[in-house]
């Protein structure tokens, strides 16, 4: 298909919109657009009982990371300070992310805030988010008569 055809619609028509959705199911997860809402990048795995959230925050001190859980939402906050530049030093390249971040992720179920566990290893933060008891699936015993 010709790209010019799309240009005529003023970019309103996104040919990739159908392809895009599996990676950004906007209906399920909403990361509010705040300052640097995109850092850090987050992966989430889930099963019937819990969700595991991993994020890459290299070089960050675990004590400067803040994880808060309320209802269905997990919020990650933190900051990465820039390297201190000594006298006579200059940057050749400065590509690493720095600054403050706050990222909220909404999960499709309520969370058990008391049993959330977080570990930080090799620059990767892993947060285990158990489902609240009320949202857990219940198995129903079938009695034979």
């Amino acid at each position: 298909m010709l790209w010019t055809e799309f240009d005529r619609f003023g970019g309103r028509l996104d040919p990739w919109s159908d392809l895009d959705w599996p990676w950004s199911p906007r209906g399920l997860f909403t990361a509010p657009r705040q300052q640097a809402a995109e850092f850090p990048l987050v992966n989430i795995w889930a099963n019937a009982d819990e969700a595991i959230l991993t994020t890459e925050t290299p070089g960050m001190d675990p004590s400067s990371l803040e994880i808060s859980v309320a209802g269905k939402t997990v919020t990650l906050r933190g900051r990465r300070a820039p390297d201190e530049l000594k006298d006579g030093s200059t940057y050749h390249r400065q590509e690493r992310w720095q600054g403050q971040f706050s990222k909220a992720i909404e999960l499709p179920f309520n969370l058990d805030a008391d049993h959330v566990e977080a570990t930080f290893k090799k620059g990767v933060l892993k947060v285990t988010l158990p489902k609240a008891a009320t949202d857990k699936p219940k198995t129903i015993q079938i009695k034979s008569e």
Binding site: S24, P25, P58, G59, M60, L85, K86, S89, W97, K122
Partner: protein, 135 residues
């Protein structure tokens, strides 16, 4: 989405044309800061998932190569629900000038950040020339 995330999105490392890697995993280009000081050049690279045992640094002729192996982080009994980043190894190379003292290169890894200190050869350190103001 792609345009807004260019700064934080991980970039896959490039392979020379008509070449292939033997291992089929993904390889990313780590983001680096390079700071030149009066005595040394410090290369800092973000390599989350890498520790001191899984990083290789080699210096051949004047090419400094960094390679970090990352264990794939997937969980049994869990299915991916939402993925923003991929996991894979890290690879990046830099061309150094001759003024580096190869014998004294130091490297360390902390919290997934690799830091390579490349000291300058004594002769290459810039001499400071004092300027006096004439009245």
């Amino acid at each position: 989405m792609a345009e807004t995330g260019t700064q934080v999105q991980k970039k896959e490392a490039q392979v020379p044309e008509r070449m292939e890697r033997t291992r089929a995993n993904r390889v990313y280009t780590p983001q680096v800061d390079i700071i030149e000081g009066p005595d040394n050049i410090v290369v800092t690279a973000d390599m989350p998932g890498v520790d001191d045992k899984s990083v290789d640094i080699s210096l051949e002729k004047n090419i400094l190569s960094i390679y970090g192996r990352v264990e794939d982080m997937s969980f049994d009994n869990h299915r991916p629900l939402f993925t923003e980043y991929g996991t894979g190894d890290y690879e990046r190379s830099f061309t150094l000038s001759d003024e580096i003292d190869r014998e004294r290169i130091q490297a360390s890894v902390k919290n997934g950040v690799l830091k390579v200190v490349l000291p300058k050869v004594a002769a290459a350190k810039s001499r400071k020339i004092a300027v006096t103001a004439e009245v």
